[in-house]
């Protein structure tokens, strides 16, 4: 598995937030994007995750263009799991339905019992997302990201809102995922979190 971000330009409103960014993430690697507020970490991850279309440049997963023709798009997007910055999944869904949707979309399976246990997904399954706290929403979105399973995780501030126990569980899950050949691209304000993950830190300048 290899994620390639090649000279990507991403725009929000009338401003180019990302100007020609190029990165690579290989299998077994954890890459942490670090930078000041507003430097474009979330924008870049949204582009990689197929949510925000780039103005120019190319984003590929195993040579499959995330923004290419529909067949390539589907094949590329089926390989990754994404957690957005605010974990703002549609509020009318329950935690269980969000995970089931992600599994059906990737034509895969629900997360393993170990992941369900580590993230506490069992107690979130019947709860509507618009009645969850930020930390619970984050856990539900992480559960959906792990469904499939994916080969790449794109995580926008995955530690935000999690309590200490869940944060430790997430750290352990991500290290295990990378050790098993998965790749992780994440954005975080917390360098300690990146250090605990043994992540390769990439500084994103404004």
């Amino acid at each position: 598995m290899r994620l390639t971000i090649d000279r990507v330009v991403l725009r929000r409103g009338n401003r180019n937030v990302i100007n020609g960014a190029s990165y690579q993430v290989a299998a077994g690697e954890i890459v942490a994007l670090v930078g000041a507020n507003g430097c474009g970490k979330s924008t870049l991850l949204a582009g990689v995750a197929g949510v925000l279309a780039p103005i120019s440049g190319q984003i590929t997963v195993d040579e499959l263009d995330v923004w290419g023709k529909p067949a390539a798009q589907y094949a590329a997007r089926a390989r990754f799991g994404y957690v957005p910055e605010n974990a703002d999944a549609p509020g009318f869904l329950t935690g269980g339905e969000l995970v089931a949707l992600a599994a059906a979309a990737r034509r895969g399976m629900a997360p393993t019992p170990a992941i369900i246990d580590a993230l506490g997904l069992g107690e979130l399954a019947p709860v509507r997302i618009d009645r969850m706290s930020l930390g619970q929403r984050r856990r539900a979105c992480l559960g959906a990201a792990f469904a499939g399973p994916p080969q790449l995780l794109i995580l926008d501030e995955p530690d935000n809102g999690l309590d200490v126990a869940r944060l430790q569980a997430l750290t352990s899950l991500l290290r295990t995922f990378a050790a098993g050949g998965g790749a992780v691209l994440l954005a975080s304000h917390d360098r300690d979190f990146a250090t605990q993950l043994d992540a390769r830190i990439q500084l994103l300048a404004s």
Binding site: G50, A53, A78, P90, L101, A104, R106
Partner: protein, 371 residues
């Protein structure tokens, strides 16, 4: 020295402020819902009452003379207004206000007044028919029934975690949940309007003693007019859910499903139309001959599929504009249903061909994916 008028006590001021805040928090939602129901009822009534043949007095006599008809219409009326009455109890804005010391009677008086006010179309119908006692009776009984049913506690249900075996099934199930959970009241109202559309078409046929080709031609046209208020809120909610799911669909690779989903929406329009047709035939069972029934069935299928297919196109169109343009969607739906009725009126059986072709075109010209 100028005299100083009597000052109200802090408690009275507090009560007044509380009542004012309660009215602002609670009343707008139910009033909006009730007005939407009134508009829909006026559309249906406009096609069946007055110059088109069914006199208000005949309708009132029908309701009181035939207990089954009266009971069915009362049930539909309750179904239409129940969501508005329910919102009086469950308005989110009022939750916090309950924690404050509150005046005892003001909310009850306002609730009762609004429940009575909701019955205005029925009261107007009876008054126009000269049945003043019936107006008073139906207004009070309707308000009382609504008030009682709105307080019923619905059983709480814990949703089971689903397993979807395909992307299309998952997508459709998610949309159905979105529409039901965001706008379940609209669904109930739509069900009421579908039944009302069928009954109105049946009433039109009976009142005008239509025979032969006229049964299917005019019956189908009145039926489509009644489907506008039934389908418009569903269409708007469909757009809303699609908008909310868009980023997630993109990230999950839920692409290339648009045309399959357009087929399903077209079929749902067809089913809706057939349900209305069933209500209509049930109401005019003695007056519809087999051949006219078969023609009606054909019109209902072709017209319903067309309206459904155009709903799918309409929601895509609204979504491409990145906002829910409800009024435009309603206007488009009115134009489509009117055009469908006129086409049936002008071309009779031959209209099945262009209507069916238009439905197929609307679906097959839907792009497979939208990125």
């Amino acid at each position: 020295m100028a005299s100083v008028g009597p000052r109200s006590s802090p408690a009275t001021d507090g009560n007044r402020l509380w009542s004012k805040t309660w009215r602002r928090a609670v009343l707008p939602g139910p009033v909006r819902r009730a007005v939407a129901v009134w508009l829909g009822v006026f559309i249906v009534a406009g096609t069946t009452i007055g110059g088109n043949g069914l006199a208000p007095s005949a309708l009132v006599a029908l309701v009181f003379g035939h207990p089954v008809v009266g009971a069915v219409l009362a049930a539909i009326w309750l179904l239409l207004l129940w969501p508005a009455a329910r919102e009086l109890r469950t308005a989110a804005g009022a939750q916090y206000l309950r924690s404050l010391p509150a005046p005892r009677y003001a909310p009850r008086v306002w609730t009762l007044a609004l429940l009575l006010f909701m019955q205005l179309p029925i009261a107007v119908l009876c008054i126009v028919a000269g049945a003043y006692a019936h107006a008073a009776l139906l207004t009070v009984a309707g308000a009382a029934l609504l008030g009682i049913t709105a307080t019923l506690q619905l059983p709480a249900r814990t949703p089971a975690t689903p397993v979807w075996r395909s992307r299309v099934r998952a997508q459709l199930a998610i949309w159905a949940r979105g529409v039901w959970r965001n706008s379940g009241a609209s669904l109930l109202r739509s069900a009421g309007f579908v039944a009302l559309a069928g009954l109105a078409a049946g009433g039109f046929i009976r009142a005008n003693q239509l025979r032969g080709n006229e049964v299917s031609t005019f019956g189908a046209t009145v039926l489509y007019a009644g489907l506008v208020p039934a389908l418009a809120p569903l269409l708007a909610e469909l757009v809303n859910v699609r908008m909310r799911m868009r980023a997630w669909d993109a990230a999950l690779g839920m692409i290339g499903l648009q045309r399959q989903i357009a087929w399903v929406v077209a079929c749902s329009g067809l089913v809706t139309s057939l349900v209305a047709l069933a209500a209509m035939i049930a109401f005019t069972v003695a007056g519809v001959e087999f051949l006219d029934g078969a023609r009606l069935f054909g019109f209902a299928c072709a017209g319903g599929a067309l309206v459904g297919a155009l709903m799918a196109r309409g929601s895509l169109w609204a979504m491409q504009r990145e906002r829910s343009v409800f009024s435009n969607l309603v206007v488009a739906l009115v134009i489509v249903t009117l055009a469908t009725g006129i086409t049936i009126g002008l071309l009779a059986e031959t209209s099945l061909l262009p209507l069916g072709a238009a439905a197929v075109w609307a679906v097959t010209s839907t792009p497979r994916s939208q990125t």
